[in-house]
Every structure is written in structure tokens, then in C-alpha cells.
Symmetry: C2
Subunit: 205 residues, 2 copies
DNA sequence: TAATGTATAATTGTATACAAATAAATTTCA
DNA sequence: TGAAATTTATTTGTATACAATTATACATTA
């Protein structure tokens, strides 16, 4: 059941369904060889992701997932992640920050896309999870799932790998100096840059 | 089905269930005289509200809804509503703003709690909906549902009615002057004040 | 007795059957 | 013909039955 969820999730993100097309329970049941009951549960999950809209007695239709959507998600992400930074920056351990910085420097010029995508996730996840705010963490994770494809694709270009990691280092430095205002300003720019890179990847779908 | 959702929703918000208590499908079915199928759907909704946690094969348990939760929700709300303001402030119509201001002034000294609660909702909803950002709107509406009880209770005290409405007027004025920075600063303080008032109402449960 | 294993009960997960609502096709009548 | 009414088909909503999993109670053994 978790499986058919992620299959549908990825298909919608990838734009494999025409916008506003109706997802009929029976059709999906047949397609995945399961009954309608778990299909309905999956459709409800997708509705909460904002990927489909369910109307009473009319079923689920696929919502458009366009550049506007990605733009909006990045703006929301920025607001929430800046809130995270405000909360976590003053309490992060110097040791962990230095460790992260060392890792960033070590891998600055590496080619492997996965290394950079993982490092990116590691820093952001650390800042977010350190807040200990369960709702905030859950909301950001949900947003990340929606844009994860675009995030990793962004690291395909060599210069974005390097510039993103440099921005990470600057952010870590600002936090280490306990300069939260500067850290937030750098993070704001960093997420704006990420947004532009993500939008640049859109044509690939 | 929508009915049993709101009943359970309100019971959890009101703290009528001990934290971590398990909500068994069969028990709820019997209680509401419906089958387990719609009960399961409702529990999934409540999970998305962050009010229960569902674990595979273990069912749903009620999550604690404490002062910490309310504090966190207000902080998230503040971040997202400031984003809304940034987007909508430059494009709001002078006419509608003046109309709202007039309404605020007219009702400034009214006793009726409902009048003030409605005015509060009217302004905030206006600023939020004018952004046209569907996800942002949906997220804020979900947060509002969680704190609505505390919002209205806050207007029971006479001085909060008046001060909140005065803050609304100041915010409208700043927007009218197209001074978004000032509007955001005033909104930040306004939501912080609302948070304190909401937290002050907590003991009533 | 305490720990482990086994049987039983309770609970969740899924499939299927039927009811209710909606959409599509057909008929009726001006 | 064409609009309204009626019937039929399709689809979603709910109830129920059964399967799979987890929790509990009991028995066994060291």
C-alpha cells in the first residue's frame, strides 16, 4: 500500500497524468491488483500532499503540478526553514557544526551528484530537526518530498554543486559565530538560489 | 462522517482524551453507530491534523495537545502569515482596505464577542486569501482550525477586544501606505500578542 | 519464581457486497 | 427537432466478512 502511494506520488510529480484527470478507484484497483479500500486510503494521502483533490461522490482528480507550484513550495519552505534557523541556530553544538563544515570542505570539488545531494540534505535536516518542533519538522519533510526530484537534479551541473556547498559553509560559519541574523540572510539567498536552480530543471519533465 | 470528524477533532483539542490513549476503530464505530470504514478515514484525517499518530497494525493514538503545541502553531502561523502579507500587501485594493478599517472603527467598543472574532477572521482571511497561493491558504486554514477555540475565547476579555482591533487598524493603515515592512512588523507583534492571549486561555480546559 | 514458548483473544488490514449518488443514455412529449 | 423526464450505467460511500498482525493470558521448563 505504501508502494502504490509512492508510485502514484511520483507519477503525478513527474507530470505523467494530465492535469484535472480523474483517478477512478476501480481503475487503480485493477492496475495495482488490490481492492478499492487501500486505494481510497492512498488517495486521501495524496490529497493531503496537495497532489489530488477529492470531492464528495465525485472522487479524486489530479491537480496541476507546475512551475507555480514549485515556486510556492519554495517560498513556504523558505519561511519555515528561516523559522527553524531562528530557533536552532543559538543552540547548535560547535562540534557538530565544525564536523559538518569539514565534510563540506572535503567534498567541495567532488563530482558525484549523490554526495552533494546527501550533504545538502544533511545540513538542512540538521538545522530543522534540532528545533525539536514536531509540526515544523513534519511540514518541512512533506514539502521536501514534493521537491526532492528537483533538488537532486539541480546538483547535476558542476557549478551548482560547488556554489551550493560554498553557501552551506558560509551559513555554518555564521551560525558558529552565533550571528543568527547573518545566517538567516545567507539562508534566504541560498534557498532563493536553490529555487531558481530547481525551476531551471523543470523543462526536463 | 464529516460529523464524527469534527466531534473527535473538538474532543481532542479540548483535552477530553488522555494523551497517548488508543482510539480503537471498533469502539468508535459502536459509539457513532457507523462501520469501521468511515472511522478509519476520519482517523487518517486526524493524523494529518497532527492530532493522532497512526502506526501500522497498531492503530491511532491521541497526541498531547498542550501549551507547547499552541506555541508552535502560533510561531508557524506567524511565519506563514508574514509571507502572505509580503505577497498580498502590495496588491490589496484601497477600497477594500478602507471598508475594513471603517468596520473596525465602527465596532471598536462593541461588547459582543462574536463581532470581534468575526472581524479578526475577516482581516486575516482577506490578507491570506488575496495571495492566491493555494497551499499557503490551505496550510493556514488548517492551523486556524486547531487554534480557533483559543482565538475566540481570547475575545472574552474587554481589553483584548479593543487592543486587537486597534492593532488591526494600525496594520491596515500601514498596508494602505504601502509600507509593507511596517505592516509586517506590526503583524508580527499582533500575532505574538494573540499567542499570549491564547496561552492565557489554556487553563480553561 | 522468572523466563520462554504457545495458545487465545483482540485489533488492524484488505476484499467483497451492497447502498447511495452521480453521470450517461434513452425515451417522451411539446 | 429539442428540451425535459426517465431509465440505465457508472462511480463513490458504507457495511460486513475474512485475513494478517499484534497483544494478552496461560502453560511449560529451568
Amino acid at each position: 500500500m505504501i508502494d502504490i502511494y509512492s508510485v502514484l506520488f511520483n507519477k503525478i510529480i513527474a507530470g505523467e497524468y494530465p492535469a484535472n484527470i480523474r483517478l477512478k478507484e476501480e481503475v487503480l484497483s485493477a492496475e495495482f491488483n488490490i481492492s478499492r479500500t487501500p486505494v481510497r486510503a492512498v488517495l486521501q494521502q495524496l490529497e493531503q500532499d496537495g497532489l489530488v483533490q477529492i470531492s464528495p461522490n465525485k472522487g479524486a482528480k489530479v491537480l496541476p503540478f507546475s512551475a507555480d507550484e514549485i515556486e510556492e513550495i519554495y517560498e513556504i519552505r523558505k519561511s519555515l526553514e528561516l523559522l527553524c534557523l531562528e530557533i536552532s541556530a543559538p543552540i547548535l553544538s560547535m562540534q557538530k557544526l565544525l564536523e559538518l563544515k569539514r565534510e563540506m570542505i572535503t567534498n567541495l570539488n567532488k563530482e558525484d551528484v549523490k554526495i552533494h545531494a546527501d550533504l545538502d540534505a544533511k545540513l538542512h535536516d540538521y538545522l530543522i530537526n534540532s528545533t525539536g518542533k514536531k509540526r515544523l519538522i513534519q511540514m518541512l519533510n512533506q514539502l521536501f518530498r514534493l521537491i526532492q526530484k528537483f533538488r537532486s537534479l539541480g546538483f547535476m551541473q558542476k557549478d551548482t554543486k560547488e556554489s551550493a556547498t560554498k553557501e552551506h559553509i558560509e551559513i555554518i560559519d555564521a551560525i558558529s559565530m552565533r550571528n543568527t541574523v547573518l545566517a538567516k540572510e545567507l539562508m534566504r539567498k541560498h534557498i532563493d538560489n536553490s529555487k531558481m536552480i530547481a525551476l531551471g530543471q523543470l523543462y526536463k519533465f
